[in-house]
Amino acid sequence: MTGPLSGYRGIVLTQAWAGSYATQLLGMLGAEIIQVEFHGRPDSWRGSYDRPIPETVQNAPGAASEQHPWNVQPNYNSVNLNKQCITLDLTTPDGIEIFKRLVPVADLVAENFAPRVLGNLGIDYESLREIKPDIILCSLSAFGNNGSWRDVPGIGGTIEPISGMSSLLGYEDGSPLNSGQMYPDAAAGLNGFAGIVTALMHREMTGEGQYVDLSMQESSIAFIGDALLEERMTGNVRGRLGNRHMTFAPHGIYSTSDDSWIALAAESQGQWSALCRIADHEEWLSDPRFADNATRKTNEDALDAQISAWAAGQERDALAALLSNSGVIAAPVLDAIELAADEALRERGFIVNVEHPEAGGHPQSGIPAQFSNTPATIQRHAPLQGQHTQDVLHRLLNIDEPEYRDLFDRGVTGAGPST
């Protein structure tokens, strides 16, 4: 693997989104990431074993004639690039024994089970430390590894409300909302990645491993921390602002003539003037309601009405280009298909086509960081379930073909539903 983390190895039990995204970022930056998936209890983001495969997936370019539902789940395949996958039945002593043999050759272990699970399996931090004293373990859980809610389960859809995020997301006149997909998982993934590299740095400096305890509730609160601090400093409970900004106006998303939407904002008087000139509404410049940012903010409803009326007659992309090239903050609102086709993001190498042996070729979000000396690259599609079991066990543990066959026959490893 290439990238700044080349040389590190993680044996990870991450699943679903938050944990998988954290370890995908490590893999994207060059670490060797081996996911250990429960044989017989798949990563929940592989979906259930009996879920129907949509026709569009069956007919995708490059798709295999034989597809398994658990290998063609877009959720799983979107957050497990640059990883290998082995399966072990960790409910059996043999499965746990093999997992424990992998720990000495790992720099880090990561997981996002409920906090009690690792202890039940006999592989909690203290147990791992006995095997490898400088091991790093990162746990991502709903509420963290202690406190009164330690054993309460949670997912992004419940963490978003209970972290305060939902209370801030919504239209000015509307009720609290959850985001269109479970954003707290993404935030936790970024923070889990950050926590693990911090632990690696500490180990390089001191030789000491450690336990990293990430609560999804807390990592979400950290990302609305200014609203929490506002309450502590001023007593004000922040509400929902829609697309508005606490300081600047205009700042919104407006409908355009081609049934699309444009985001635009002015954070300076220069940007406001440029916007008025481009809109051919120079009378806005002399309107006392819009004279400076403070008056625009006070009269934001009237301002938005004017801009909405004008934008409704404009084409999204042409207007966004004109405004952007004139130094005004503006962008088309891209949907997911447009995003994948975006030329600028492709030119930057961010959107990349990834060939998957069962699902076919599809554009995906790539690596959100570029390194001049240790370039990071997408080298692996999301693994098929158990794709690398035999290779990894042979390479790292010297388990030969007959021994692997025996494990397979006894159901300690395998792919798909347990038989």
């Binding site: 202690n146 406190g147 909302l177 200014d226 309450e231 400093m233 962008a331």
Partner: protein, 383 residues
């Protein structure tokens, strides 16, 4: 570590570096760091956002328009491990420090640029903020309701996400400098939009697999988010089969609990109109924390919508010592996003006043002697 950034994302990256032990010097212009002008403000006119993202570092005010000022900053950079900036490539070429020449002169330097669109590519000179990051990353297209405008994530999500990605990338580059011969630094290019598009990756690939873009929801119901309860809102976004069974029993809907068709989430999603009205009618009778406590005892996932004052009083967060004041005093801050067992984060200082530490920083970071520092201050280049 030298922080020359003027954005929330750069400031958040520097805050994380400081929280985990880096000695951070912020150089700000005579107008002050731009976050200082962001609402809301406390009674003493301190920006809450600046208090949050500029905490834990020292500040020098140095005029970059003056050659002496640029030289002092350059000297500090040459003595630093890490530099965080958020200037566009054109801006850097004009005003320095441009990364090619800096890295040539100081090969060990790790220089991280955080900008809306990255330092290269057709949009690199376009301005941007959290709103445009929401628009271009796909997030706005799926947040909110189908019959209302697309909705950006609340607040400063692109800034926090990009700052965190930048922090992790800087630490990765420090590890690479430590581990990989010839032990050099490098330039790291972070685009706020790409970080947000990375967090969007499941919706992107789902849309590709289905051949149509994921759309905003047509209505709010319990399958997608918070719905009304007696004293607020509550999300019962069920995942596993036993969560469904236990939750329906708690709501007194035993027929829904017992019917095996409802055990899988994809089936519930596709047939939600058959149950949501009944379940929501029962939910509306509950107070949010009573329902949460009842479900939590059964280990069922459940999400009462809490507001910031309720979080500040939250017993679990207090158990975890999540809130803490800086060592030197001040308001309670929400804690770090993760807890390090052996090398815990530190919150030593509140956000500095502009130029509060100019003399120390010019001495310790830039390596200037007292006479040079006096001259910079006397000429108004530093204050």
């Amino acid at each position: 570590m030298v922080d020359l950034s003027t954005s929330v994302s750069g400031a958040w990256c520097a805050r994380m570096l400081a929280d985990f032990g880096a000695d951070v010097a912020l150089f700000e212009g005579s107008d002050g760091h731009p976050t200082r002008a962001l609402a809301p403000f406390d009674d003493a006119d301190n920006s809450v956002i600046a208090e949050y993202v500029l905490a834990n570092r020292r500040s020098a005010v140095v005029d970059v328009e003056q050659a002496d000022g640029r030289a002092a900053i350059r000297s500090a950079i040459e003595r630093a491990d890490v530099l965080v900036i958020n200037k566009s490539s054109a801006d850097l070429a004009t005003h320095g420090p441009d990364h090619a020449s800096l890295l040539q002169q100081k090969p060990g330097l790790i220089m991280c640029s955080i900008t809306p669109h990255g330092s290269t590519g057709p949009r690199s000179e376009h301005p941007g903020n959290d709103l445009t990051a929401a628009a271009l990353s796909g997030w706005a297209s799926i947040n909110g309701l189908a019959d209302r405008p697309p909705l950006k994530p609340s607040g400063l999500q692109a800034s926090y996400c990009a700052g965190t990605m930048a922090y992790g990338s800087i630490v990765a580059a420090l590890l690479s400098r430590h581990n990989q011969p010839p032990h050099q630094g490098q330039f790291i290019d972070i685009s706020e939009i790409e970080v947000m598009a990375s967090t969007f990756s499941p919706a992107l690939l789902n849309s590709q697999y289905l051949g149509e873009p994921q759309a905003r929801q047509t209505k709010v119901d319990m399958s997608t988010g918070p719905v009304p309860v007696n004293d607020g809102h509550f999300a019962l976004t069920i995942s596993r089969p036993h969560f469904w069974r236990d939750a329906m029993n708690v709501l007194g809907l035993d027929d829904l609990a017992d019917d095996p068709r409802w055990a899988t989430s994809w089936y519930r999603k596709e047939h939600s109109e058959e149950y949501v009205h009944r379940a929501q009618a029962e939910l509306a009778k509950w107070n949010k924390m009573d329902l949460f406590d009842t479900l939590a005892a059964l280990r069922v996932i459940a999400g009462p919508v809490l507001e910031t004052d309720e979080l500040a009083d939250n017993e679990h967060l207090r158990d975890r010592r999540f809130f803490r004041s800086p060592d030197e005093g001040g308001p309670e801050f929400p804690g770090t996003a993760f807890k390090m067992g052996a090398s815990p984060s530190q919150l030593v200082k509140r956000a500095p006043k502009p130029g509060e530490h100019s003399v120390e920083i010019l001495r310790e970071f830039a390596g200037l002697d007292e006479a040079d520092i006096d001259a910079l201050i006397a000429s108004g280049v530093a204050r």
